[in-house]
Symmetry: C2
Subunit: 337 residues, 2 copies
Amino acid sequence: MNIGEIAKRAGVSRSTVSYALSGKRPVSTATAQRINDVIDELGYRPNASARALAEGRTRTLGLVIPPASARLTDVQLAFVASVVEAAAVHDHDVLLSPSGGDHDRSFERIVTGRRVDGVILMEILLQDPRVDRLTSADLPFVTIGHVEDPAASWWVDVDYAGLISRCVRHLADLGHQDVVLINRSDELVAAGYGPALRATTAFTTTAEECGINAHTVCCADEPAAGQACFEEIRTRWPDVTAAVTINEAALPGVQRALHRAGLDVPRDFSLTGVIADRLAEDFHPPLTAGDVPAVEMARMAVDLLLGQIGDESATPRHSMLAPPITLRSSTGARRRA
Amino acid sequence: MNIGEIAKRAGVSRSTVSYALSGKRPVSTATAQRINDVIDELGYRPNASARALAEGRTRTLGLVIPPASARLTDVQLAFVASVVEAAAVHDHDVLLSPSGGDHDRSFERIVTGRRVDGVILMEILLQDPRVDRLTSADLPFVTIGHVEDPAASWWVDVDYAGLISRCVRHLADLGHQDVVLINRSDELVAAGYGPALRATTAFTTTAEECGINAHTVCCADEPAAGQACFEEIRTRWPDVTAAVTINEAALPGVQRALHRAGLDVPRDFSLTGVIADRLAEDFHPPLTAGDVPAVEMARMAVDLLLGQIGDESATPRHSMLAPPITLRSSTGARRRA
DNA sequence: ATTCATTTTCGAAACGTTTCGAGGCCTCTT
DNA sequence: AAGAGGCCTCGAAACGTTTCGAAAATGAAT
């Protein structure tokens, strides 16, 4: 069941089997044939631990996910699955690690136990202790979202600012005068969650440029909060006729609140933002929105990470994805009161 | 950075460091102290691959998930996250492997490369080739859902039959005469997906016992299908006044269809089934439903698996969870026409 | 036949642990 | 004072690979 057994049966040395398997040195076709026959017959596969030990690499990537306590959103979920698939394409496996809460042991085990060749960090904060930890451990990593000095690190990100900006212009073009941004949770904003901050800035700046009134509100990542949030918006700023959101988890609640208030989308109220396309299409009516391209992000993150692992001295690369805004039917001209 | 370095600095042999770390043999408090100091100072952690090689176990569990192409449902997602957390409690990591589609290489790599100590199989079919593969590879595994001979294998399952049965009785008690089961997709049923089959049987049998009319319909796992499905129900069986579902992914579409048809829940139509509690509570109105206890299932699956790994000759254990049906507000007395 | 270059194969070391058997050093007993 | 028994510690082997340097085999050219 080990390489020695194969060697014995094929009448060669262990190293020859190894070379036949890896192709790192030529092996005569005759012996290669013999070795392959034995391997097929016995269904042999090299022991991953031994190989990792000898090679100094595990062919495994770490994926640090938000803790289960924080409900994963649809995009995050799609992202996890896509990372696994993208890694599989390159014959790599994915080790999951929750973070935050009391799961630091898991993170630490992965980082310092040399269990993985590199790490993908989701839901990164502007100042993130995990980034420091990975840097000091000298472990290659790619973040989803970028940190303070964009040029100095490897990351993939979505151009939230540009996307939000275009949403606002779109609404302004349709004649809306009072718009609101439904952001993600207070805590995330306070913790320095990049997309939330950039969305806010882009939102207010663009609104100002367009000469329209902008309001902002934070909302926990769950339907009930979305509903409460929207009701609050209606009472605080009754003139608001359109909303931009980056909080997809809250959407069902927003939809409910719209319905309760007797508002028809897009006749009475326009809704847009940055939303996974599947979710946008499932909405009623389908949402005009910038799609978060989870599959593509996952692919890029894996490619970047493998590139970094392959060449430790490579200069940091990154990519800012600017998905298009897909026009569906949730935005319309402001109705003159 | 390796155990030899620690040993040198502490002035002891490598084995002593190992024993100090594992506690498998006593070490004098003085040397233990010295060793710990050095370890803390250098931030040393044993190399996971080397340890796995020597110990013959990886302290890693494999989790085989449905392929990303099939959209993961909310419960599945919660389950994955919970498995990771449950494993973390026991200082184990989780390796993800997609299955189905063209991902057999990934599954094979995990199984035969001895990368994991055991496997948890999600979304199992009544006749599942992966089960055979794991059995022949002599790798411990636990399935979510059970196979043909329940006593012969390790599994965790939800008592779909009992749950569905109680839902039907509940509806019958409320006076409903014509009920429908919204099942999962045609393909899953055809492939022999246990829960779908058991739900169907329990549904029709119980309805018969109660003397009410039962209809069954399959529905793809997505909102659009749910909507189409419900509309079809209305035209084919206009007398139906209540539905039982195990297809949570389709729920948003069902809700939309209900609304479009001008049906109020629970006044005009009752809705219940087996649904993750979070989803049930987010529904409007909150659904009376049997909660799929994803967190508990994950915990049990991990416990069973670790038990099996710890004692290879243990006799198979399993547990059938029978979550209670939580009465919320989506079911009501049939309105006399 | 000898040399030389090439192709193919081998043996040994290395990767970083764990674990087993044995040896050293106390202290207690006789 | 010598032996017995405990406690600590050590050295060496083992886990299953990869990889390096060198040896053996082959074939061509002198």
